[in-house]
Symmetry: C2
Subunit: 205 residues, 2 copies
DNA sequence: GGCATTAAATAGTGATCCCTATTAAATTAT
DNA sequence: ATAATTTAATAGGGATCACTATTTAATGCC
């Protein structure tokens, strides 16, 4: 019989996911260096030892908060990108979804990863490497999708899929920067529409 | 007779411009929040009171360092953009120059402005506003050049010059982010070349 | 040399940084 | 009730943060 599964011992003051949600939001808005552990404990309603026993360290909490925040979006975005649609349309919807993420009402502007920890103190180099790796991975996902499109004859065989992926990666990063600066959803999508005119074979050639 | 013009009183330990050069480099590499006043005084070889008497505050020093750093490039870039070349060629050379700036050997990666102070602590909101205003201004410069091209018949009358400017602004911001992550000069220029295929009227239509 | 001037260095300030040794509280099992 | 277990809170440590009141040094002019 599965009992209420209530472990013995003092109950947690906050669930792990609830803590990660709060941390993700703070790091997202203020960045890694701009968010203090005092900010985090205060927002979670806990004291420092609780934070450290739950998450280990500030850096480790950031890693987990990134993972948590990404997990919420990656499923939907993968579905969009790997859908049976033509690769061009899948890419367009994928970029639109990112633009929506950059401009959600009641949430921080921009992307949690695209423009995070670019310039940083030396002591935070390993944190910067985390976000850089995530950016690289997201461009690899695009490249892999484009490679498949080449294999399936949707793109010319000589297409430079790597540059194509890094180009749309740059658009994603630029959108995040402009969203941080206050750009609205419509503007970001105008940007996407223009960027899509660089797609191989569009507009003649 | 113009004497050596040596003022009386104790000579400065470091000239203002030399100090700004060092500050610009540090802020460029580590960002505003990642650079401490101790970093700055140590690199300049001075003590805190000297820094504060010369520059006022950390924020004020950042403002002056940005101004100093921008002044070194803006002249050349304006010449490129306002040259008698066709606007498309001027834009290409302009973007190439920025790519070169993002990947100078022996200098920090990326751009001092394009990806600076995007996420930040609340207390640094006014600093973020400074860099945001500089980004906005640089896109306005592009738009103004494109507007002129429309007037001179180089671009179709119905061209959305604002979106066009924000699109190449996004490319500039994306290049800076990717340069921070280690992208080389060649990669950035491949990106530019692809972005230029979105230029109105290129590749048919 | 002595004075006025200018800018430096000394030696800190209180606040905040990330983090922790220790103690107290809240729960289930006996 | 008592014990065992699990987690939270108290209280503070050492380092660093941006910044400054005060004193000292280095120059040109007389």
């Amino acid at each position: 019989m599965p009992k209420p599964a209530r472990k013995r011992g003092r109950p947690r003051a906050i669930e792990r996911d609830a803590g990660l949600d709060i941390a993700a939001r703070l790091f997202w808005e203020r960045g890694y260096e701009g968010t203090s552990t005092a900010d985090l404990t205060k927002a979670m309603g806990i004291n420092p030892p609780t934070l450290y026993s739950m998450f280990g360290s500030k850096q480790e909490l950031y890693r987990q908060a990134l993972e948590f925040g990404i997990a919420r979006e990656s499923g939907r975005r993968m579905e969009i990108l790997q859908s049976p649609l033509p690769v061009y349309d899948a890419l367009r919807l994928y970029l639109y979804d990112i633009a929506d993420g950059d401009t959600q009402p009641g949430k921080p502007r921009g992307c949690m990863v695209s423009t995070a920890v670019l310039q940083h103190a030396e002591e935070n180099a390993s944190v910067a490497q985390m976000t850089a790796a995530l950016r690289e991975a997201s461009m690899q996902i695009l490249k892999t999708r484009f490679d498949r499109a080449v294999e399936e004859g949707e793109l010319p065989a000589q297409t430079d899929t790597d540059t194509l992926a890094r180009f749309y990666g740059a658009i994603i990063q630029g959108m995040s920067a402009q969203a941080c600066d206050g750009a609205c959803n419509t503007r970001l999508k105008q940007l996407i529409d223009l960027a899509l005119t660089a797609w191989p074979g569009k507009r003649g050639t």
